[in-house]
Amino acid sequence: MDRETAKEILSAYRPNGTDALDDNLQAALEQARRDPELNKWFESQIDFDKRQAGALASIKGPEAGKKAILATALFQDEAEPIEQPAKKKIVFVNWWRQAAAAAVVAFAALYSVFLYDRPDPELGELSHASWLHSVSILADSALPLDKRGNQIPAIHQWLDQRGAPHATSLPGSLTHETQLAGCRIFDLPNGKKASLVCFAEGSDFVHVFTVRKSDLQGMPIQEQSWERQGDWNLFAWSEGDMLMTIASKLSPEALTPLLSQA
């Protein structure tokens, strides 16, 4: 074979040497051993390929993306088939089913807070505790984000464009020490909106729920104190008309440094 043909074949040779025994490459490899000029070209190419492959290998996918893939796969026991033993099957919940389920959860949780025309004594009074309970349920539901992003201004602009509230300012430590993931908007039963801005701290999340105090119909607010609801540690503070509530599985001790400006 001529030198150019050999170069084309050798271009398929992976720099990790995996293809050394490939039948189709053997002849070209042998020719490179006999032809000093071709061999020099081949060595240079291997070096170039190693650098490129190494650079590409240094890229890691977002860890939370992998977690989301595994978390959104549900395993359901199948009815026992005739010919083989029952086996767990992976199914993904369709996004619209997730959205529908999320809407139900959001409505049920928030309805207990917003008792407007038909107050139901069984649902309790409009209280700060019920608000925190709603927040913990929403946090538990691990709803997918509407908008992903890692820039606060862009996320706030996106929320502004949709009439959703957001914190006018966030603790500097929170924004610097954690990774912004994105946001989600909730429609409240009274037609108003609340928002969630989500940060990742290692493998944990810090959720910041924001609602306008004027949309809470005078609900008494207890600020700057830790509450625990289920697995979630909750902390609320307000600024102007905005009530922010943090929900995280991190301990108050771990969260406090992140909220130093809260």
Partner: protein
């Protein structure tokens, strides 16, 4: 496919698949979407994939097809025009280019490649695919794969050895650790 088998497949192929997606669309958010969609389709089609060893080519094929069908055609990613007129590289710029190859530069260079070459060369550099597997995954003849690999490398060298191109190209968004769920 059991939960354990699926988890093993995700653990093994999540990063390579994300790298492949990122090289195709040069956008971390869309790369993540493509990656997640591919795994979702794998889960939904588990009955069709009885041999787990086939999941690799299946995942990459699905992702590539989705990129072509839904992303490239929707013009979500403006095609990068590659100047095919070769610039004669001097020795100094060649050495400089070779020293500066890092992840973001590699991605920038891949983004400037002719689109026909980007998928095969990225699969090649992942080093998990032989040229025969690239041929099967991208549904291209083996000769075409070899030819495209050669030409892709020639283009990459030109891009990386051209100081003007390196300094003028827009930086590729490079995620620290983007997140999915709230």
């Amino acid at each position: 496919m059991t939960k354990e088998e699926f988890t093993a497949v995700v653990d093994r192929w999540y990063d390579p698949l994300y790298r492949f997606a990122l090289s195709l669309c040069s956008n971390s958010e869309d790369a993540l979407d493509l990656t997640q969609n591919a795994f979702q389709k794998l889960a939904r089609n588990q009955e069709k994939i009885r041999d787990l060893s086939k999941s690799k080519s299946w995942l990459f094929s699905v992702l590539h097809r989705e990129f072509i069908d839904n992303y490239r055609h929707a013009k979500r990613f403006p095609k990068t025009q590659f100047d095919t007129a070769p610039l004669p590289p001097d020795e100094q710029s060649k050495q400089t280019a070779e020293r500066q190859i890092d992840a973001s530069l590699a991605l920038e260079a891949l983004a400037q490649l002719d689109e026909r070459f980007r998928a095969p060369i990225t699969l090649f550099y992942l080093q998990d695919f032989s040229y025969k597997e690239i041929s099967e995954t991208l549904e291209l003849p083996i000769g075409t794969v070899m030819s495209r690999l050669r030409r892709a490398k020639d283009q990459l060298r030109q891009i990386l050895e051209s100081p003007k191109k390196n300094t003028s190209s827009a930086p590729v968004p490079f995620p620290r650790k983007a997140q999915e769920n709230g």
